[in-house]
């Protein structure tokens, strides 16, 4: 097989003052015709820089220092700008991570596709239109006639990503670069897009360079894999051997850190509930002005569930399923329209604002975004002691407790006097956990608490939660979109869809014998599901 692209000893320099001299150092690899190469790495590994270098899209200050990238017997890194431009979109095409922002908001989808032909001076106006229509059809967008006249804001995230792919395929490129194209999508949409890429590869025989941080995705589509870390390739090989027989420590650690679907042993649960949610309802209304119709969204629709003392209940669902609203309602950040939230014999849903403030400590929350969940202008100490002092705990005692908690979450007591910007994302999540614990809650709600973290950091935070669960017999409602993460930590799992509770059961029940179609769909959509299963059920 002939290589479509051969990269030899590519080194990309970062501007002065960056945390390291090279974004990418001495990287070599080939991609053959019709082959999918996955470039895997955590944030900052240099995987996207490699792709941007090939496309001539490097940010200012970042430049190729040495090496070559041979494509069709030419070094694409050294081509004059005019030739690079002719190559882009025609021979090498690229799709990006954020379908929401990667399309021009003021231009119709059809025009954005036709533009590719125009850029390369091909076809007449009407022919471009016809071809755009064919492409829209090929990537499986519904109602193509309507779609090409639509603006991006009228499309869903998955549809936009399909439109992006249509653009990328317009001129039948020999190489498609996909930079985390499914990261921003829901699992079921992600599964569809991955399938689309596989189909198109088969049909058109193009080479694909697929950048991802997710080994599940790798298991799903990769032929070849390279693993990058801090700008260097640490491991390479075909997909099966990298996944099942990793050589480098880093790869092993990454793979270990991935929730594999290996199910933890079921634990004995207490009979006393920490949280009882009964018939909870929350409806959001928007619009309703003089000329606007009212729109109703039933975010939480008659949901009842219980979290036992010492239990971790996973609440999973796709975006828009209402899982976050349920969590926010349970802590009464959102006031429900109906139903009860019973914690320690008190119905939080029924309290007045004033009573609520005194009962706030009962349920605490760990948030998703480590960069938004701490006040940048407040020292860690006051973030951890504001609540307890407000409850009447003497200042010295609250501060001593805060230091103790910082030790428990693995940061050390001297973290107390510092400001949030001095900590990394993973460290901030630990602070968030300590802050929740400082209130001595009966229940903690973790809302996508590890979703924003790199896998290896994610694993550390999950370890911490598991450890705290044992040591403090914490009750946790763990909200996540990621079934694999839920499987690692939770005792039971509840599945939500469109505001309703679809299914709830022990982890092994949900994973091995799901009763509802939707649960089965979700499980099937998990990237690399089969691969994870093979590890779990010995063949």
């Amino acid at each position: 097989m002939s290589a479509t692209l051969t990269i030899e000893r590519l080194t990309i320099g970062l501007p002065e003052g960056a945390d390291r001299p090279f974004a990418v150092e001495n990287v070599s690899f080939d991609i053959d015709k019709g082959q999918i190469l996955c470039v895997v790495g955590e944030s900052g590994s240099g995987k996207s820089m490699t792709a941007n270098a090939l496309m001539g899209l490097l940010p200012q200050g970042v430049e190729v220092k040495s090496g070559r990238a041979m494509f069709e017997a030419r070094d694409v890194l050294r081509l004059p700008e005019v030739e690079k431009q002719a190559l882009r979109g025609a021979q090498i095409a690229m799709i990006f991570q954020e379908p929401m922002t990667a399309l021009n908001p003021l231009m119709r989808i059809g025009d954005q596709i036709s533009e590719v032909f125009a850029a390369h001076g091909l076809y007449t106006q009407s022919e471009r239109r016809k071809r755009a229509l064919d492409l829209v059809r090929e990537v499986g967008l519904p109602d193509p006639e309507k779609i090409i006249r639509a603006y991006p804001f009228q499309l869903s995230g998955g549809q936009r990503q399909r439109a992006m792919i249509a653009m990328a395929l317009a001129l039948e490129p020999k190489l498609l670069i996909a930079d985390e194209p499914t990261t921003a999508l829901d699992v079921t949409t992600q599964a569809q897009i991955l399938k689309l890429i596989l189909d198109l590869r088969k049909k058109r025989g193009m080479a694909v360079m697929f950048i991802t941080h997710d080994f599940g995705v790798v298991a799903e589509i990769a032929d070849q894999v390279i693993v990058m870390r801090e700008g260097k390739v640490v491991e390479r090989g075909d997909a099966a051997s990298v996944l099942h027989n990793p050589q480098h420590d880093y790869t092993k650690r990454l793979l270990d850190a991935i929730p594999t679907g290996k199910l933890p042993d079921a634990r004995k649960l207490s009979d006393t509930p920490a949280l009882e949610i009964k018939n909870l309802r929350k409806t959001f209304r928007t619009g309703g002005g003089l000329f606007k119709p009212v729109r109703e969204v039933h975010a939480v629709d008659d949901v009842s569930l219980t979290v036992a003392r010492g239990e971790v209940l996973g609440l999973v669902g796709e975006s828009g399923s209402g899982k976050s609203t349920l969590g926010r309602t349970a802590v009464r950040l959102v006031t429900p329209d109906g139903g009860h939230v019973m914690v320690g014999g008190v119905d939080l849903a029924a309290l007045s604002e004033e009573e609520l403030r005194r009962q706030r400590n009962k349920v605490q929350m760990v948030f998703q975004d480590p960069y938004a969940s701490l006040n940048p202008r407040q020292r860690i100490m006051s973030a951890l002691t504001d609540g307890p002092i407000n409850r009447g705990v003497p200042k010295e005692k609250a501060q001593a407790k805060a230091k103790e908690l910082l030790e428990i979450v693995g940061l050390g007591a001297d973290a107390a006097m510092r400001y949030p910007h001095e900590f990394s994302g993973g460290q901030r999540q630990r602070i968030g956990i300590a802050r929740a614990l400082a209130m001595e809650p009966e229940l903690i709600i973790a809302d996508e608490a590890v979703s924003a973290l790199d896998v290896s950091i994610q694993a550390q935070v999950l370890d911490l939660l598991r450890d705290l669960r044992e040591r403090l017999s914490l009750s946790i409602l763990f909200i996540t979109h990621d079934l694999r993460v839920a499987a690692q930590l939770c005792d039971r799992i509840a599945v939500m869809q469109k505001g309703k509770l679809v299914e709830i059961g022990r982890v092994d029940e949900i994973f091995l014998s799901p009763k509802q179609d939707y649960t089965r769909q979700l499980l099937a959509a998990v990237p690399g599901a089969d691969w994870a299963q093979t590890e779990e059920v010995p063949a």
Binding site: L57, R88, G89, F96, N104, L106, V116, Y151, M167
Partner: protein
């Protein structure tokens, strides 16, 4: 929402706003030190006893405040802005005479400043960091800090007094009695200096906005997509960045209309341009409060109308707004 519904809702809001301004006017007169009748007649002694009596009667100044307010507002609804005893004519008539000149000046200045501002802003953004960008941004910074009226005076001094290139006074050549095209050209030559000096400050404002907006949009993801498609930088700038960047500039420019009308008072004063701004200035010296308040109300109406037009243009140009609701 259809455009029609937008227009209806905006217009009804505009009418409410104007009513509120009318009420504000009423209370301002009453809050002014001294007898409102005397104030209205022009307290510098121009009013004789008879006039003041007439005013008392007309506004019913011996009646309760709300009755007076009702009468005042009812008058304004019928476009009765009161009587200027100084000029011996109804204020509405005075303003109607002067309004065309102001409209000509402000609209010309607006178009000139928007076109120049966007052109310079786009040019500067395209050459960011280069000497020509530095020159343009420095110029903008200077004009942004220059008082309008002083710039106007200096322009008169240089182009009218020293070089004698352009007329620096009035709306047309007095006594020339031009007709047809000759008259248009004559008015045009009188318009150049006032429109440019009024427009230069706003050119600086729009240029800074346009430049910042271009740079901001050029950082967005879809620009990278366009580049990945193989489009040339020039095409990307024209088709993708420009339109996205100009939209907010035009909206903000619409919101600046109030400042433009305010600036017209100064420009018209310097150039003796016979618009409502000049009328306001003349009334200031004469303490002709009826006229001052009348001009105030009419200029607010102009600004509101302007905002409605911008809003509608924006809705037509941006597909997202019309469909969102």
């Amino acid at each position: 929402m259809t455009i029609f519904a937008v227009v209806v809702s905006r217009l009804s809001k505009a009418i409410l706003t104007l009513l509120a301004i009318a009420i504000l006017n009423f209370f301002l007169i009453h809050a002014a030190p001294g007898d409102p009748a005397v104030v209205l007649a022009g307290e510098a002694g121009a009013a004789d006893e008879q006039m003041i009596e007439q005013l008392r009667e007309r506004f019913g100044l011996d009646q309760p405040l709300y009755v007076q307010l009702g009468k005042y507002v009812a008058g304004i609804v019928q476009l009765d802005l009161g009587y200027s005893f100084r000029q011996g004519a109804p204020v509405a008539e005075l303003i109607a005479d002067r309004l065309p000149a102001t409209l000509l000046l402000t609209l010309t200045a607006f178009v000139v400043s928007l076109v120049l501002g966007i052109a310079f802003g786009v040019a500067a953004a395209a050459r960011v960091g280069k000497p020509s960008d530095t020159v343009l941004t420095t110029m903008a910074l200077l004009f942004y800090a220059t008082p309008l009226y002083w710039l106007a005076l200096m322009a008169v001094l240089v182009f009218s007094v020293w070089f004698g290139w352009l007329p620096g006074f009035g709306y047309e050549t007095v006594g020339a009695n031009y007709t047809g095209l000759e008259r248009v050209l004559d008015i045009g030559s009188h318009l150049i200096l006032p429109a440019l000096t009024l427009g230069l400050f706003f050119t600086a404002v729009y240029m800074r906005m346009a430049r910042a907006s271009m740079l901001e949009v050029s950082q967005l993801d879809f620009v990278k997509t366009a580049k990945a498609k193989g489009l040339s930088d020039a095409v990307i700038r024209r088709r993708h960045i420009l339109r996205n960047a100009i939209l907010p500039v035009v909206t903000l420019a619409g919101l600046q209309a109030g400042q433009l009308v305010g600036g017209a008072v100064l420009t018209e004063t310097v150039f003796a341009w016979p618009g409502i701004g000049r009328l306001m200035f003349e009334s200031l010296a004469a303490r002709d409060y009826n006229t001052i308040l009348g001009v105030f109300l009419v200029s607010a109406a102009m600004v509101i109308l302007f905002n409605i037009v911008t809003d509608i243009v924006y809705r037509i140009v941006d597909p997202r707004i019309g469909a969102r609701s």
